[in-house]
Amino acid sequence: MHAVLSPGDRRRRVSRRVSAIAAVAAASLLIAACSSSSSPSGSSSGSATADIKIGQIDSISGGYPFGDAVAGAQSYVAMVNAAGGIHGHKIVFESGDDKGQASEAATLARKFVEQDGDVALIGDSSLPECPTNQGYYTQNKVPIVGTGAQPQCFAQPFFQPVNAGPYIGHEVMWDYTFSQLKPASVCQLEQNDPTSIKYYDQLRAEFVASHPGAKFTEVTYVNDASKDPTPAVTQAKQAGCDLIMLSTVAPNLVAFVKAAKQVGLDATFMCLGSCYDASVPKTLGALGEPGALGPKDQGVFVAAELAPINDPSPDVQAMVAQFKKTNTPADFWSEIGWLSMAEVVNALTANKGGGDITTSAGVVAALQKMDPYTNGLAATPLIFGTAQSHAPNLGSKMLLIKNGDWTTAPGQGSNGFTIVKAPTPPN
């Protein structure tokens, strides 16, 4: 039989119980705090064996398969870790697919930075990331080195693109077309992307105003990735286009050239660097050679934002050799992943900022104080620095399919790149 407790005894028993619970809770909090401060990902003390945690956000299943950026970055990480890491710190790399959706890009950024403790995002190749996460990255000083896929990527203090970007890519295509190829009629098939149409129109108008003789017969906006290209090439044939500029990806470029052959369009094709893929010449076969579509066809050109994989420069060949070891496909996206990681590793190795490179602050300091990084993949040296916006890669290499492979098109600068001035910011 239980003894009946007096009110006073009851109060004392409850009070002891509450005190015990409070003590256990306090101890738990103390232990958790000590654990997190000693974990490598968030350490400010930076133990000698702490890892450098890096993330990457890509649009893979959203219609633009940028997934090879992951493979390119992973290949570089494997090489660095095999050599002992950066000053003994191994790189721990993770990636996420935002499926081309803003909500996913936002979720992934927060997960990587706040939950997983990533100190930087490297090689990001995502369409919604820059517009969506611009405020978050700026406010939290999250350093990113990756693909500039939207105008906002070139207008943030903590995002540095390694590629020239579609705007410089367009300037290079226009410059090369009107100065070297000089076709009678030029048409542009532009992506029907409302976020960039206005800016492309502005840049085109400025180019035409400053280049006498430059004239566009037709500019059409089309979601070519989701539609059969036959109507678009039919319209180009009716308009009498001798050269057609595209802003698309490699599979669509191949589809356009094949459709052109079928409808009887005799024209030169030119595309942004996103069309570069080592498989294109083989897939097109004889159709990719100059003259295949007719006498006006000067060939299939790509304004490669980075050097192609058959470029003889030592940096490119070292990348190719490592890609072979890790079975990494060689294309524009894997080059982006590789170059982004290479630039950041270079900056962290030099560590001009003097901070702890296993922390975000230390990485930011190292990137902001880095010396310009020269790599044969890029037209101009890359640098993060302290500017409020970054666009260090100011050129592209015009490539032409010849004899079944990509070759450097004639009439360019001494390093094979065409370098232009940075485009004026959007109005």
């Binding site: 299943s61 398969p65 109507p231």
Partner: protein, 284 residues
């Protein structure tokens, strides 16, 4: 203008074949399959593998159709096993799962690189008024209508057709009368996937080799099927061709950047026509 009309037949032929598929599956199985073009694309992707062994294009295509049939068997088994008694809405929603899975797999196969699909017609074209049109397109458009006729006749004149019609009217009653509803469900899915694989076989040699655009061909195909009110196979086939031509004509106009809205406008127009006798506040 006739060049634009001819240019629109390439996409129109695919939409027509897929639309016939959509209508048949809706009528026979009570399911609006949102995954039809994605499943067909998976079957078509297998041709790349067969081609890598040096097989001739026709054999690669034939084996691709066999793979398409096998994919249909799997999809049909899942639907028969788990969704046989479900409503049309639930069954149709389930196909979204097939679509998502197919796109995830397809993106890994067609990973942004470029591929040459086997072309049984060798890229040959006929020239009409100075405009080249692929022989594959002409065959595909013809085949879509031949299929529509064949299916209509088959359903009315054959014993299998009678069983399928019984199943579509009252599945449970048919089953009690000895109709093997589960087996017929798998058969229809398999045949549907063969048709959708075939629809893509004709266009893949010259179309983009990114998977999502191939999977989302179901959108204009469904709009075409709606033009037949999901009942009339011939209207569905014709609707597919007309949508392809309309897209081509609109692209050439000053409304070119709104080409993608055409299927949506058709869906809205058909829905408004279908429900034209409804009273506004009837639901309340």
């Amino acid at each position: 203008m006739y060049e634009q009309i001819l240019g629109g037949l390439v996409a129109g032929g695919v939409y027509a074949a897929l639309a016939v598929c959509v209508v048949v599956m809706y009528q026979m199985l009570g399911v609006l399959s949102f995954a039809q073009s994605a499943l067909g694309a998976l079957g078509a992707c297998s041709m790349l593998w067969f081609q890598s062994f040096g097989m001739n294009p026709w054999l690669s295509v034939l084996l691709g159709l066999v793979v398409g049939a096998a994919i249909g068997v799997v999809a049909g088994w899942i639907m028969a096993r788990y969704f046989l008694e479900a409503s049309v809405e639930v069954r149709s929603a389930a196909t979204v799962g097939f679509l998502v899975a197919s796109v995830a797999i397809g993106n890994r196969i067609l990973n942004g690189s470029t591929y040459s699909f086997p072309d049984p017609f060798g890229g040959r074209t006929v020239t009409i008024g100075g405009q080249g049109i692929p022989i594959a397109t002409l065959v595909e458009v013809t085949l879509a209508f031949v299929l529509a006729v064949g299916i209509s006749v088959g359903l009315k004149k054959t014993f299998l057709g009678a069983q399928l019609r019984a199943m579509s009217e009252r599945a449970t009653t048919a089953q009690l009368l000895g109709v093997r509803v589960g087996l017929l469900t798998v058969l229809v899915w398999s045949a549907g996937c063969v048709v959708s694989t075939m629809a893509l076989v004709f266009v893949l040699p010259t179309s983009t080799t990114s998977f999502p655009p191939l999977a989302y061909l179901i959108v204009p195909a469904t709009a075409a099927a709606l033009l037949g009110l999901l009942q009339n196979i011939y209207m569905a086939a014709l609707g597919g061709v007309l949508i392809g031509i309309a897209e081509s004509l609109v692209l050439a106009s000053r409304f070119g950047r709104y080409t993608d809205a055409i299927p949506f406008l058709i869906v809205v127009a058909v829905m408004m026509y279908w429900r034209r006798k409804d009273v506004w506040s009837e639901a309340r």
